[in-house]
């Protein structure tokens, strides 16, 4: 008497089917929402792959880098937001080898990225974190670094030194060339 005769089998299956359809609808909407969310999250990676972060930056006139000496230089990172503050100011070491050839080293130790310091008296770069040391040409001298200092490509135009920079170099992605020494332009 309580069960409406004849409608029971179709009624239950219809409700079950509606539940499944509803779940399916939510699943489809979920996937549609997930695609932009994942792309949003991966945007730093996508930017690096499509456009890249590197560009040519001036370190200033050559007169700042006397022959035979190694000097600290700074530049403003090319990809920058207004709220980055001083974190977008990056330092690097410029070595004027002989007045003709230069080497521009990243400030980051090749071990774990700490800032290396130049000691002109002993002609060594030393790292304060885990004790890595490098010779004046950037090659590894001692300590835990697996390689020499990261080197930026450079070129000289109108008496100014330019480097190809914009991304923090790390052991896994040494943005600059891996070999260490290269002059693209004399």
């Amino acid at each position: 008497m309580t069960q409406p005769t004849g409608t029971e089998p179709t009624g239950v299956s219809r409700r079950a089917m509606l539940v499944k359809l509803g779940l399916l609808l939510n699943g489809v909407v979920g996937v549609i929402l997930a695609v932009p969310i994942v792309r949003y999250i991966l945007s730093p990676v996508a930017h690096a792959r499509k456009i890249g972060y590197q560009s040519w930056l001036s370190l200033g006139g050559l007169e700042q880098f006397p022959s035979g000496q190694t000097r600290l230089a700074t530049y403003r990172n090319p990809v920058v937001n207004s709220w980055d503050g001083e974190t977008a100011d990056i330092a690097c070491w410029v070595r004027n080898v002989d007045g003709q050839n230069f080497q521009v080293f990243a400030i980051n130790c090749a071990h774990l990225g700490c800032p290396v310091r130049w000691f002109p008296q002993s002609n060594l770069f030393m790292c304060p974190c885990h004790g890595g040391a490098y010779y004046q040409d950037g090659s590894r001298a001692s300590g835990p670094p697996p390689r020499g200092l990261f080197t930026y490509h450079y070129k000289i135009e109108d008496g100014k030194l330019f480097i190809d920079a914009g991304e923090m170099p790390t052991t896994g992605s040494p943005v600059a060339n891996a070999s260490g020494v290269k002059s693209t332009c004399a």
Binding site: T87, R117, G131, E167, T170
Partner: protein, 495 residues
């Protein structure tokens, strides 16, 4: 009184929570668990609640912007009434929370609490530990100073070593090409929304399981856990012989939590907040970055791993550790619970404790780091120069000027990167000293290109004086035999 009762009844009629709260508070626990050993879980929860409250208070002022965060911390420390105290509570609360979570973990491990049927409670506990450490690391980043900046650099350098996807992992972690505004924003989101949300959910499940499965009974040597009989035995201990949690056990939890809160407050008042250290300006390179206390052991490990093994060990080591912790209840889900019959468990805890504390101790002293200003600020002790020849004193000058002192100590002052040189003349002959200085080796850079022959001669002459008064310096016996007395005479005047 009657009014309060009336209001209470009115509320309970609608909320329907009274019975549930009474059941929870009065749930039976085995009598022996009303113990001071069982207070660490509730103390960790207390710390977590303190962190939520003080975190919200800090968020009222803090600006999660790379350009402003550091100055907003200065305002918190100096410009806002008692802002320094809230920062102190949050910073010390974080240290206490990590410490108590570790103690809690050691206690439940030694008491066999991870065995049947509490395997999942343990596994969620492992995840809670990882999230607590995640909060500690991201919290250190939000204190956006030099240590935070270069600490992020270390994190990015480790992430970059992941095979294949390393460079992408770096961009994802930093939110861009360098450590900058986007980096701080995402660490803020992780520290304030993501991990706390997950922590609250996991703490809820963890607590619910402790209630539903009952707190681990006091382990008795010889009382073996078996899946077939354990539930019945536990029911006997808790329900037949047990006591209600409130008030029999709870008073110890309350007292200990109060003591911990008081300790955190005392530390905050007398030791103050942590930092911030210097501004997060990457062009200021006169800095020696250090991680916070609970990551010092990792900092030490990173300086001792050999370069060839570093990347694989960094990738595989933590993964193995976490998997072993997670799967522990499946290797040892049954059997003896008492630490008195589990010597390997006790040894494991002792070994881990000794290892972590030794590495932390090393991390506090960083003997592997050159002391960057030793060459100009640490003098050579006067007695090392008295009665020396002009050449030897000239060598002492070379020793300072070429920064040897940054890595080598004399009279326990100076760097500890290389060996102390107070008795070096006993260990190395003149020829060996010259070779070591010029060619380096054994983790010492080669100085051949940086020293003139005259400087090398002077330096080695100075090094040869470094031996105790009564003991002669090392010499090459063969040389004296072959060359006779002339060798001895020449070796004391020239290299």
């Amino acid at each position: 009184m009657r009014v309060i009762q009336k209001v209470g009844n009115w509320l309970d009629q609608r909320l329907q929570l009274g019975a549930a709260i009474r059941d929870t508070a009065g749930h039976p626990v085995p009598r022996e668990t009303a113990s001071w050993f069982y207070v660490f879980g509730s103390a960790a929860l207390t710390c977590f609640m303190l962190q939520i409250v003080t975190g919200i208070l800090l968020a009222l002022i803090y600006v999660p912007s790379a350009g402003e965060a550091w100055s907003s911390l200065q305002v918190l420390n100096h410009g806002i009434s008692l802002g320094w105290f809230i920062r102190g509570l949050h910073g010390w609360g974080s240290n206490f929370m990590v410490a108590i979570v570790l103690i809690h973990m050691a206690q439940v491990f030694l008491f066999g609490a991870y065995k049947f049927p509490r395997e999942l409670t343990w596994m969620i506990g492992v995840i809670l530990l990882l999230m607590t450490l995640g909060m500690a690391f991201t919290g250190q980043v939000l204190r956006f100073d030099q240590d935070a900046y270069w600490g992020l650099g270390i994190g990015a350098s480790i992430a970059s070593r992941v095979p294949v996807v390393g460079p992408w992992a770096v961009n994802l972690m930093l939110g861009g090409p360098i450590i900058a505004g986007a980096t701080l924003s995402r660490f803020f989101a992780v520290h304030v929304f993501l991990i706390p949300g997950l922590l609250i959910a996991c703490v809820g499940v963890h607590l619910l399981m402790v209630l539903k499965l009952g707190v681990n009974e006091w382990p008795m040597p010889g009382r073996i856990v078996r899946r077939a009989t354990y539930l019945k035995e536990y029911h006997e201990l808790a329900h037949t012989k047990g006591v209600p949690f409130v008030p029999y056990a709870v008073w110890k939890d309350i007292f200990f939590s109060g003591f911990i809160l008081l300790s955190i407050a005392v530390c905050a008042i007398y030791l103050g907040p942590f930092g911030p250290s210097g501004q997060p300006d990457p062009t200021i390179i006169q800095t020696a970055p250090r991680p916070d206390f609970f990551f010092l052991w990792l900092y030490a490990v990173l300086s001792f791993l050999p370069p060839s093994a570093e990347t694989p060990l960094l990738m595989i080591g933590p993964a193995i550790g976490i998997v072993v912790l997670l799967l522990l209840p499946f290797f040892a889900g049954e059997g003896e619970k008492s630490w008195k019959r589990r010597p390997i468990a006790v040894l494991t805890i002792l070994l881990v404790a000794v290892m972590l504390s030794s590495l932390t101790q090393l991390g506090l002293h960083t003997p592997w780091s050159p002391i960057m200003d030793a060459w100009s600020s640490v003098p050579i002790p006067a007695e090392y120069l008295q009665g020396r020849t002009a050449l030897e004193r000239r060598g002492a000058l070379v020793f300072q000027a070429k920064q040897c002192h940054n890595c080598h100590s004399l009279d326990d002052m100076g760097g500890k990167r290389g060996p102390a040189l107070d008795r070096v003349a006993l260990r190395l002959t003149q020829d060996q000293l010259i070779r070591q200085v010029i060619q380096g080796g054994g983790n010492m850079p080669a100085y051949g290109k940086n020293l003139s022959p005259a400087e090398t001669t002077a330096l080695v002459a100075f090094l040869e004086t470094l031996h105790p008064a009564g003991q002669p310096p090392a010499g090459n016996a063969a040389r004296e035999v072959v060359l006779g007395a002339s060798a001895k005479a020449s070796s004391s005047t020239q290299p």
